[in-house]
């Protein structure tokens, strides 16, 4: 009998820790997991940057950010941008909600939770163009303002702040062609390490990249999918290298880390081009394993997105509704000047 009781208590404690582990933004997760009674209210209170700000119900607008997952540094940066903007504006209650991993069903759940939580506006990075449109329609019907950050869905929103992924992919492709030309390589095969077939943003990048190679003497091999996991992507890149490729393209941060490490492990000699930035990617550029990476501006997406949402909520109209937040090319030349 006693054992049963203990196991029930343990189970509930584990469950509570799991729930608080899933939800909430980074700065509050530590606090949340120490007490089983972590509530989303505490999360909201902690993330409101303005300390001591009284949440006067009428003036404060609630804006909720829903990204594709809660762990990729890219989303962390979007959240950072949002937090800064919310602090600057001062009358926003801001929250970050995201699933643990890219999953349509979970993202729909987050949208529904946001509606129930009384959001006034939702900033969302859609996993895919169609899966969540239903939930978004419901949100709009409830009067919630929708702004897309990073990836839009197929339903109208007041604004979209994203990287033109296709253009960025094309830029990456052009960078690779240039690097290959400099190295005197005129033909051969190219490998692409993508994430999965369902994520629209990375698929657009691949499409742009392939466009750059149209009509060139290089063949692009069958794309492999590494789920954005650095190790899986590295195994795939290793295999590409064994298969004799002259260049490999990584479509997001995890893939790029894997590609860089694989080239490093093989002793170089292959042109590696990637996407996104992280500490690891920057050091891989510094030591020459990667030629360059396309760095997005996630924090700009976040701050501008939140600004636009707040503006619409305040009754203003927007001048630009589709904004390309752009990419910058980071390579050996300028990597040291980055923070």
């Amino acid at each position: 009998m006693k054992m049963k009781a203990i196991s029930v208590v343990l189970g509930m404690a584990m469950l509570a820790a799991a729930i608080s582990g899933c939800s909430g933004s980074p700065s509050t997760t530590t606090a949340a997991t120490t007490t089983a009674a972590a509530t989303t209210k505490a999360t909201a209170a902690a993330t409101t940057a303005a300390a001591g700000e009284s949440t006067a119900a009428a003036a404060n607008k609630k804006i909720i950010l829903i990204t594709m997952d809660s762990t990729d540094q890219h989303w962390v940066n979007v959240d950072k941008g949002c937090q800064e903007e919310a602090a600057a504006l001062g009358n926003i209650t801001y929250k970050w909600m995201a699933p643990d991993k890219k999953d349509d069903a979970q993202q729909i759940e987050r949208i529904n939770n946001a509606i129930a939580d009384g959001a006034d506006a939702i900033l969302i990075a859609a996993n895919g163009p169609d899966a969540i449109t239903g939930a978004l329609e419901e949100a709009k019907a409830a009067g919630i303002v929708i702004v897309y950050v990073d990836s839009p869905a197929n339903t109208e929103a007041v604004a979209t702040f994203s990287t033109d992924n296709k253009a960025a992919g094309k830029t990456a492709g052009e960078q690779m062609l240039a690097a290959l030309a400099t190295a005197g390589v005129t033909k051969g095969s190219i490998g692409i390490v993508n994430i999965n077939t369902a994520t629209d943003s990375t698929n657009k990048r691949e499409a742009g990249f392939r466009e750059a190679f149209d009509g060139s003497a290089f063949t692009i091999l069958e794309t492999q999918y590494g789920e954005g996991d650095a190790v899986k992507s590295q195994d795939i890149a290793d295999n590409f290298i064994t298969d004799g490729v002259v260049g490999i393209f990584g479509c997001n941060e995890g893939a790029t880390v894997g590609v860089g490490n694989a080239i490093k492990g093989a002793g170089g000699g292959i042109v590696g081009v990637g996407f996104d930035r992280s500490d690891a990617i920057l050091s891989l550029i510094k030591d020459g394993s990667l030629v360059c990476t396309m760095v997005q501006n996630p924090s700009v997406m976040g701050s501008e997105g939140l600004k636009a949402a707040a503006a619409v909520l305040a009754g203003e109209t927007l001048t630009e509704t589709v904004v390309d937040t752009g990419v910058s090319i980071v390579n050996a030349a300028n990597v040291d000047s980055l923070a």
């Binding site: 054992m3 189970g11 799991a18 794309t223 650095a230 064994t242 298969d243 992280s278 500490d279 050091s283």
Partner: protein
């Protein structure tokens, strides 16, 4: 009696009659056929470079397969393996980015992972929770720990001081073979010895075969269960270290789904999910089959859509083949499960 014994030992038929060996023979043939097919489809598959890479890709699957095999043989299951891999990757990487000596990080990480194994064992053996639920709980907690250890960020690069660490676990070679493979081989030898030649190993089979008979014969069932989970925790921890050495960073999502790959490797190799039987040598072949499939399908240029279907069909086929072949074979002088050397 002596004459009979020596005569029996040396016929192939009687070696095959040893319980479990038949299945290993079958899947080995399957493995060789697979390798042949992939080699034909793309010559790069059997290049020296790929063989080296392939072995290094198989090694982590084998290591977690060993851990899962131990737990399966006791009649339980460990669903937390994947999360412990992630937790281990994050803890070791975070400690190293904070300036810890890599080897101290390794020790601290492994202690925590073995501790998780002890936790699993206590929940199952002492609190009598069903293993599925207990390890499902630990799985979620471990994943949560992986996330909070670095404040819900993936870690920065683990830095120059960790070159030795990265070389030991992933990039380095000894006698032309990657260290990771050597680590897997050494762990296999140790754990196979433990399982087939020591009292603890015998008890592990007994508990899985008939837990009541074991208890009534004076076997300490709780300790045996905990030991099996400790092995699993240790193995998962080791693979987590390999992961952080591989990518040079800690990734919160690493190890996702690994517990199922571990089950696949063990079960293809002949470990029964009901407990009480299975040879670790089979897990080696099972892990190899899994690794060859993942690697070979890329070289074969298989489109991603059919990859998973192909993998699934081959996995089912390899287990089915053994069942079909075995029902026809007479059980005359089948020797013991734990009796053979691995």
């Amino acid at each position: 009696m002596e004459r009979n014994e020596t005569r029996e030992k040396h016929t192939i038929r009687n070696i095959l009659a040893i319980r479990g060996v038949g299945q290993i023979a079958t899947i080995t043939i399957g493995l060789l056929v697979l390798c042949l097919v992939f080699a034909i489809l793309n010559h790069s598959f059997y290049s020296g470079r790929n063989v080296g890479n392939l072995l290094r890709q198989i090694a982590p699957i084998l290591i977690i397969g060993i851990g899962q095999a131990y737990v399966l043989i006791t009649g339980n299951i460990d669903l937390s393996i994947g999360s412990v891999v992630g937790m281990s990757c994050m803890i070791s990487a975070t400690l190293m980015t904070k300036g810890w000596n890599p080897w101290l990080s390794v020790i601290a990480t492994l202690i925590i992972c073995i501790g998780t194994g002890i936790g699993n064992g206590l929940l199952v053996a002492t609190c009598k929770l069903p293993p599925f639920i207990a390890t499902l709980g630990t799985m979620t907690v471990a994943r949560g720990v992986a996330q909070i250890v670095n404040n819900n960020y993936n870690t920065d690069a683990i830095g120059e001081g960790a070159e030795g660490f990265r070389s030991f676990f992933y990039y380095g070679k000894m006698l032309g073979i990657f260290n990771t493979v050597w680590i897997a081989v050494v762990l296999f030898l140790i754990f196979n010895f433990l399982l087939s030649k020591t009292r603890t190993g015998r008890h592990i089979y007994a508990v899985g075969s008939n837990i009541d008979a074991a208890r009534l014969s004076g076997v300490n069932v709780s300790i045996t269960t905990i030991k099996a989970y400790m092995v699993s925790g240790f193995c998962a921890g080791t693979v987590g270290l390999v992961t952080s050495a591989t990518s040079g960073i800690g990734t919160m999502d690493s190890g996702n789904m690994y517990e199922l790959y571990a089950v696949a490797a063990a079960v293809i190799g002949g470990v029964s999910t009901l407990g009480g039987q299975g040879l670790l040598l089979g897990t080696v072949i099972g892990a190899a089959i899994w690794g060859v499939l993942q690697n070979g399908l890329q070289f074969a240029g298989a489109p991603v859509a059919i990859r998973n279907i192909v993998i699934g069909i081959i996995v089912i086929f390899s287990v089915l083949l053994d069942v079909v072949l075995r029902t026809g074979r007479p059980r005359k002088s089948a020797k013991g499960a734990a009796h053979t050397e691995g």
